[in-house]
Symmetry: D2
Subunit: 265 residues, 4 copies
């Protein structure tokens, strides 16, 4: 049985990638990561670098147990992103990088120009690049064409929990999947049903952080996302029913009145 996620020639069973930010407690984070079933875990190298709350010793915590995905959160330009990526590689020995170039302090939306520029540089330096992008299938195709290992379009702004607000464009990604590397839906998923929805559409994986870390019970929520991602993937493979124009009666009824009219009073 081999429904595996393959990124840059590495094979994963889990299609849920999780983050390590926003946890109030290291033990809770540890248990939530475990409950999520994730194999890939992303860490902010910038926050590790500056010793942000919850980030001391974080690399050591995660390395070895998970496939580490250093990210460039905090970078506002291609230059900063490249610097952080290199630092991440130096700290971890890992050449994968989740590329985030985010000049927008309010909605944390990525910069397509700087992201593309940084991706080119990082690819030339031998990184495995997983870029975070807007719901832009053309940018995704360009990033795939130069060799990015995935594309990671947002469902909604990071941390918003709004859900799948870019569905029409995500559907375009999925129709173009033979021109694209694995499609990982990143950012904005607030509930397990959001994750299931994009998996049912055919996304290859999802990345979730805030919705787990900020749940009242992060460990239970991590387990819920794990099940929802598996449910969505299983449904995609199981071949869903076709939605109908009308309801589904057991015999032909065209032209039949909806109800037998009573005589007018």
């Amino acid at each position: 049985m081999s429904d595996s996620l393959v990124i840059a020639n590495q094979t994963f069973r889990s299609r849920l990638i999780v983050g390590t930010g926003k946890y109030h407690d290291r033990g809770v984070m540890r248990d939530a990561l475990e409950a999520s079933g994730a194999e890939i875990v992303t860490v902010s190298i910038r926050r590790v670098e500056i010793g942000a709350p919850g980030h001391q010793g974080l690399l050591e915590e995660v390395m070895g147990k998970y496939h580490l995905l250093p990210n460039t959160a905090g970078a506002k330009t291609a230059e900063e992103a490249v610097r952080i990526a290199r630092l991440g590689r130096a700290l971890t020995g890992e050449n994968w990088v989740k590329l985030e170039v985010i000049p927008d302090p309010l909605y944390l939306l990525p910069d397509p120009i700087e992201t593309y520029h940084a991706a080119k540089i990082l690819l030339q330096e031998g990184f495995i690049v997983l870029p975070y992008i807007g719901p832009d299938p053309v940018l995704a195709t360009k990033l795939g064409a130069i060799g990015c290992a995935t594309v990671m379009p947002l469902a909604a702004p990071i941390g918003s929990g709004w859900g799948v607000k870019t569905r029409a464009l995500i559907e375009v990604f999925l129709r173009l999947r033979d021109q694209l590397p694995p499609i990982v839906i990143d950012a904005g998923l607030g509930l397990p049903s959001h994750a299931a929805e994009v998996m049912e559409l055919g996304a290859d994986a999802v990345l979730v952080n805030t919705a787990i870390a900020e749940a009242k019970d992060p460990v239970a929520m991590a387990a819920a996302f794990r099940m929802a991602v598996e449910a969505g993937r299983k449904a995609y493979l199981a071949g869903p029913m076709t939605a109908r124009e009308t309801a589904s009666p057991s015999s032909p009824v065209v032209g039949v009145p909806l109800v037998q009219p009573e005589a007018p009073v």
Copy 2:
């Protein structure tokens, strides 16, 4: 650990109720019911009575293994529904009945007047009544007030697979839950994410038939719905994050420009 569904003083672990219609193969149905984890299974007494395809020996198949929920599908009036309910009790010894009064051959929408009337009669005759209704919180409250064991509002027309098309009104049901018996979302759910969505909102259970029976692989789809219902329930109990107006930055940013403007060219 006791997050149980209680209907008419009976306790269930599973919050997924499944149907037995539209299967092309008895063995597939048997495996799908098993994979769904359902404890309550509904059967059309009218189709059993007339020996409709797939319904010969169906009662014997289901009784004993599952809590049987005879339904009155095929009834267009209260009178017909009451007749079918009595027949179901005679055939099965079971006094639970899923009350469906459906005069509409196109969209299979229920008749609120006849449903209410039939519910009164059946309650007087000692039935445990689980009525299928439109997204009508007032009707639901009235049905609860006279003693119905659940209310079962539709998400969309039966068999349509459209998903949660009545969400605003289902949310009203859930805000009124202390005035209502258990709320089971019935009809129209086409994908596991639809089931997860209503469970996250706080529904007590869902009923799914067509989306499983008409999947290309019904057994896998049943398993997917099982996981999605559990994920949705778990998320509800885990206390989801609060969706935000803006994205979630790590420091206050009010008044900061979105990007640093370059000089105009």
Copy 3:
């Protein structure tokens, strides 16, 4: 040129019906009614009866200038609705009545059982009955069959401004239009685009009150709704384009890559 709305054999040019509640100022109400272009105006007989704020002299204000549509707001039962309807007829000489039977103090949702019962009584007493109902096509068909002059399903709870939250079921109403009297979308429309949307779908008219009365500038908002209703109707008659699966290129492109891949870096 005769795209007229016909209700109970009376012909109207305007497809926007407006209410008279919630205005803070009689002069503003007068100007808003004028700006709306409405020919039919509904008034709460119960509020007139008890002299509620803004309702003294309201009948005199409206009668003569508009086709008066007394409503039974405040009725929680069929009995109360019938009493108020009779009072309305006595006060106004008008035998039209907008039938509202609303036991729900929070969401102002109508009671289908009591509404149907009251409609039967009022029709027998010679009233022209326009019932306010939930998004229930079966109830609508029954009310049409006994002789109601319109059906008035809600888009969302009264005064909520949520918009068209019952669209899937309103579409069912419209597909069944040859079995129904004129379909007037009532309640919950908060913006002109909401009104345009249901008119484009083929609704015969809309009723708007709160969205006009509670706008910062009710007179301008009334004019905006007038234009939007006309725009929606005109679009319905003009025959909208067909939405496409893909975008609309000028030449066939199947199998063409989305972008010409650059060489990997």
Copy 4:
């Protein structure tokens, strides 16, 4: 009375910009442009250049009567767009250009990298640049910062008629409006209600082509869009009501049961 649209220091009364493609008949196009009330009309210079059907003599038809907005449709790269823009200026004497760089033959989605590059070149050459873009607020801010006269995000793919499928991101544009030039919603609007919706949100203008040209009656549809755009703008200025969590009752009702329970039967 001065609610004007100002683009590049020119003032317009109409907030509806229309296209000239896809008409089957020049006379119908002429009447539809007239009925739309538009002051700005966009023309494909590439189609004029190659003498595409319906484009012979089109410039002469439009110039003088309307503010001409040459567009670069057909350009797949920045280089091609710049060439077409220069040709447009040579043919028309007009230095405005609607910048479209579209490598995607299926969904006609724009290329953010090439668009940004072309905008820089065209601005340096003295063009007034109105770029067509994806729903990308960061790209928009960058284009505004270098001097573009508007930003024109898509509601959905060109010609799709899907409606406002990028609403969450369009709302971000509008919250950032003080950092942006006028926001013109371009592409994908299929119905007047779609146009009204974005105008109510605060968009400065909309651009519509296919939805008018492919209507069964383009002239009537043009008039419908005109009214809808005016209605949406008027509603925006009139200050809409606030949508409510519950419906709007006339007196406080917290804790009151939804309906008075009857005695259980």
